[in-house]
Point group: C2
DNA sequence: GCTGAGGTACGATGCAAGTCGTACCTCAGG
DNA sequence: CCTGAGGTACGACTTGCATCGTACCTCAGC
């Protein structure tokens, strides 16, 4: 039973900020926040430079903080940003991350 | 020389989120963000339940992240939120913290 | 029904963060 | 000029966090 997602009212800014303090997790959420179509993505589609186990750990942290919701299909898993919940509870937070994401991409494209 | 405040353009979301991940530091910033008059305050006016040394450590972290600016008067010190800088670089961030601060106060007043 | 890719569980490890003790500094006020 | 409140520097300690190794699970496809 990995379906222990916190309810919208139970979203805690402390847990969320702690989750976003890690660069890898912040990158995931920023990438999700920047894509307004909110597709369901796979864990490895983010290309995190860590092992499988560490990846599991990070996504578990993100789920526990309430930033993402995941769907277990057995041998595959789906990740989706809880945009509506977060926007309702912490309006502007995702915009900040999306803005930072585009800033980072811009800087990456400027270098040779 | 404790005047090593980062420039506005150098404000880093990672450092800021990491600074805000700690409950004590978040409380300080939330309290500052909630007071739109932006007064200069002293360190011990926040009543953090930690020792002097730990307090120094937290305020140093906050200064290094660029969230606050401090003024050394020798035997006294002044703290001030860098509201304009933060608003320019991360619009909405302080509003989130201010909202959370009033939420916390509200909950504290409701209990016996 | 075996295999392999994706994912989890548990444990170990290395490092950073938060905390405090001791010692020292700085200045305002008696 | 001594004292005390506010603050810093350095070091030690403890805990938590990110990381990975090994082992195991789940299902799709052959």
């Amino acid at each position: 039973m990995e379906t222990t997602h916190p309810a919208t009212a139970d979203l805690d800014l402390g847990s969320i900020l702690q989750a976003l303090a890690d660069p890898h997790r912040r990158r995931v959420i920023a990438e999700l926040a920047a894509d307004r179509s909110d597709p369901e993505r796979t864990c490895h589609s983010f290309g995190l430079p860590v092992s499988k186990q560490t990846s599991t750990y990070h996504f578990k942290t993100l789920r526990a903080s309430g930033l993402i919701r995941d769907f277990n299909y057995g041998n595959r898993k789906g990740i989706r940003l809880r945009r509506a919940d977060i926007d309702a509870r912490f309006p502007g937070l995702l915009d900040l991350l999306a803005a930072e994401h585009s800033r980072t991409r811009q800087r990456a494209e400027t270098k040779p």
